[in-house]
Every structure is written in structure tokens, then in C-alpha cells.
Amino acid sequence: MTNLATPASPPKSETVHVSLTVNGKPVTVEVDPRTLLVQLLRDHLLLTGTHVGCDTSQCGACVVLMDGDAVKSCTVLAAQADGASVTTIEGLAAGGTLHPMQEAFRENHGLQCGFCTPGMIMTAVDLVAHHGPGLTEQQIREGLDGNLCRCTGYHNIVKSIAAGAQAMAGGSGSGAKVAAE
């Protein structure tokens, strides 16, 4: 972010100490208080799977889990995440095996360009955590309210999430209650 003239601003040297857990690993950094959580993830920790789409809290491409809840990391200061446990898209897969929700997106063609996908998947994981594997199509569509897909691929995203929810519960992964066409 370009630092234009900042009249009457406090000393720029001040930093804030942030300790948090990211994808299970402890992280400690000293950052400018203005640093956003998404900047900490992408620029400091090089976890570039979390995307910045709009930077105005609208699109949800930057959604990560913070203590289990989906949050827009472009609208959280890194300092606010002190002490928190953050999970990004990089933290979902176990070893070389995709998380069931990731696999469901692959299986159901839930992505086109893929830019919104990390945010969609993190939001989906939060949805399953709060509503269980029996998510209805309406719950999925309402739950995706804060995630935009510019390829307009919503239909397959909804299908993917229904299937991913089943798979997360240990089902076959094909139990989507959403009409295919």
C-alpha cells in the first residue's frame, strides 16, 4: 500500500507485537498497527492462497477461519488476531490429500477461474461447522451471501458444498440434494 502524505500522524516507527497460530504453527511478528490480517498472511507469511478481490469487504475472496469462524481477513487488523488460531486454504489439506470440501469442488466442477475458490471453501467449512452436514440448498445459498463469483459459477459451487458437507460427515460425497440442472 502506497504511503501518501500523512499529516499530523503518530510516529511511523511504532509496531505492534502479534502472536497467533496459523495453520497449526505458532507465528510471532512485529507489524505496523495498520497491517491487515490478509497482509500478514500474504505478504509476511507468503500464504498467497488467501486472495484479495475487492478490498472493500464485499467479495469474500479473503475469507479465512479465525478461531473457527469465517471472517473477511481484509477487514480484520493483524493486531486483532493476536492470540487467535487462523486457518487458511493452505491449512485444510492433510499432507497430500485434499480436504473433503476441496475434493468436492474438484469433483463437482465448483470452480472456473478459481479466484473466489479459497474464500468459498473456507466459508463452506464454516457453514458445515454451524449447520451440520444436512445443509439445505437454501442454507448454502444464504450462507454464500458474502462471497462473490465473477464467473457466475454459483450453481456448481452450491452443488460442491452440499457434496462436501456430506463427505465431511463421512458420507459418500455424492449426496447433494441440489438438482444437477
Binding site: 487488523l77 466459508t123 457453514l127
Partner: protein, 265 residues
């Protein structure tokens, strides 16, 4: 963003000390309005005082009169609360319609009320239910709290601690939202007690949330959607913008009032 100091007090009096020593310091609650505002350089506070580590500012308690909700309680927690669902289900419904899921996980009741955006949802519930806003040093009844566009009775550096919502006989919230911003184009909260019916309108008034007293009066004698039919809300004090004219909003308010009443009549 312009640069700022970041403070994270763990006690209310520490926060008050920072805020009273520096009138340009700002409180940070959930940050879902403040952080976007800072990013657009529309505000330049010297310091942000993060209220999230102060004990006792969040949580939901059932009381003899109704329910008390801590100022730092997230919208998602109000929406999901079994206590709120039991005592004032309309309030849980309203909380579940704010912004989107990720915003509801961070945004707070106190933040919404302190900002008093004319299109925010919570002010409608607080005003219709005649709730009491309690701060670090006093209690402010809803009728005295809302004072206009982004204006409240809060003094400089005064911190909202909790809101006491009284239980009512019946209540409902009907919202027509702007599909892009998810704010209310017209949001109507109807609350019925033995004594009166209060109809609070958000999203439409030029001076923020207001009571539609005429609708409350007719609903007090006939609590039915048809009772609202003969009313016409004067559009002269309503907002007119690219999303809709004042006349359009006046009609929306009427329709939302009827929908709210129909859902509980």
C-alpha cells in the same frame, strides 16, 4: 490507512483513560464499519482502542424483564442464541439478517449502535423495543439515545457496555435490503406490548431511525396488516438516492410494516 497507535486495554477504566486523554482516539469494536472507513482514508484517528479484551463486555443474559446483551457480542452469537430465540425471537432474526455471515462473525451490537448508521438494522430493534443502552456511567433509554444521522446521546469517550431489551408480547422485523450493500432500504421492527405498539423504521429516514407513531396508534387498536392499509407515510423526511426515491421508500416502509405485522398477527 493513515497511521495510528493501537491500544488493547484489558479493563474498562484503562480504555476510558486513553479515550479521555486523547479526543482523537477512536474505539474499535468489531471493526466491520471502522476498518473499511480507515482503508478509504475517511477517518484519521490518532489511536484505536480495541475493546475486545475487556472482560464483561460480551455475552447474553436472561433477566426478569427480558434479555441483556453485552456490547461486544457478535451478531452471529445473537442470531444463534437460544436465550434470544426464546425471549425475543425477532431480535435473533434481525441479527441474522445483518450484512453477511463473515460480517456477522465480527460485527457487534455496541459498534452498530455507537455508529448509528441510518440504514443499520439494530437501531430499529432498540427503538421499537424501547431498550436501554447502558454505558460506563449511565443508562440511556432508546427514545433519548438516537439523535439523528450518525448522531447519538453518547458523549466523547463514552463506552457502551450492554443493552437491556425488555420482553414484549409480540415482535417482528421485516427488511427490504439493498442487494449489493445488504443494508436496509427499509427495515421495520414492530413491537407489541399490553400498553402500546411501537413501529421503528430504519433505512428510510433522512435523520436515521424513527418511530412511525401513526402506524403504532392504529395497530394498538387493530393489530392487523389491513389496519396499516389506510395510512400513507409522509415522504418529505425520507431519503432519496440512486437506490430509490423518498416516495418509493414510503411505500416500502408501509409494505414492510404490513409484512412484519402479518408474520405475528
Amino acid at each position: 490507512m493513515y497511521s495510528f497507535h493501537y491500544r488493547r486495554p484489558t479493563a474498562l477504566n484503562e480504555a476510558l483513560a486513553v479515550l479521555h486523554a486523547d479526543s482523537e482516539a477512536k474505539m474499535l469494536a468489531g471493526g466491520q464499519t471502522l476498518i473499511p472507513t480507515l482503508k478509504q482514508r475517511l477517518a484519521q484517528p490518532t489511536a484505536l482502542v480495541d475493546l475486545s479484551r475487556i472482560a464483561g463486555l460480551s455475552g447474553i443474559q436472561k433477566t426478569a424483564e427480558g434479555v441483556t446483551i453485552g456490547a461486544m457480542t457478535h451478531h452471529a452469537d445473537v442470531a444463534r442464541s437460544p436465550i434470544v430465540r426464546e425471549v425475543i425471537p425477532a431480535l435473533a432474526d434481525l441479527a441474522g439478517q445483518i450484512g453477511d455471515a463473515a460480517v456477522r462473525n465480527r460485527g457487534t451490537l455496541g459498534g452498530s449502535l455507537a455508529n448509528n448508521d441510518p440504514t443499520a438494522d439494530y437501531p430499529a430493534a432498540v427503538l421499537a423495543l424501547n431498550a436501554v443502552v447502558s454505558t460506563d456511567h449511565r443508562s440511556i433509554p432508546a427514545d433519548a439515545y438516537f439523535q439523528g444521522l450518525f448522531e447519538t446521546a453518547l458523549e466523547e469517550g463514552e463506552i457502551i457496555v450492554a443493552v437491556e431489551f425488555p420482553q414484549v408480547d409480540k415482535a417482528a422485523y421485516a427488511k427490504f435490503r439493498n442487494p449489493a450493500s445488504r443494508y436496509a432500504m427499509a427495515g421495520v421492527f414492530v413491537a407489541k406490548t399490553a400498553a402500546e405498539v411501537r413501529v421503528a423504521v430504519t433505512g428510510a429516514g433522512q435523520s436515521g431511525v424513527f418511530l412511525w407513531e401513526e402506524a403504532g396508534d392504529v395497530l394498538a387498536s387493530d393489530f392487523s396488516p389491513a389496519a396499516v392499509d389506510k395510512l400513507a407515510l409522509d415522504p418529505s423526511d425520507l431519503m432519496s438516492d440512486l437506490h430509490g426515491s423518498a416516495e418509493y421508500r414510503a411505500q416500502l416502509v408501509k409494505v414492510m410494516t404490513k409484512r412484519a405485522v402479518a408474520s405475528i398477527a
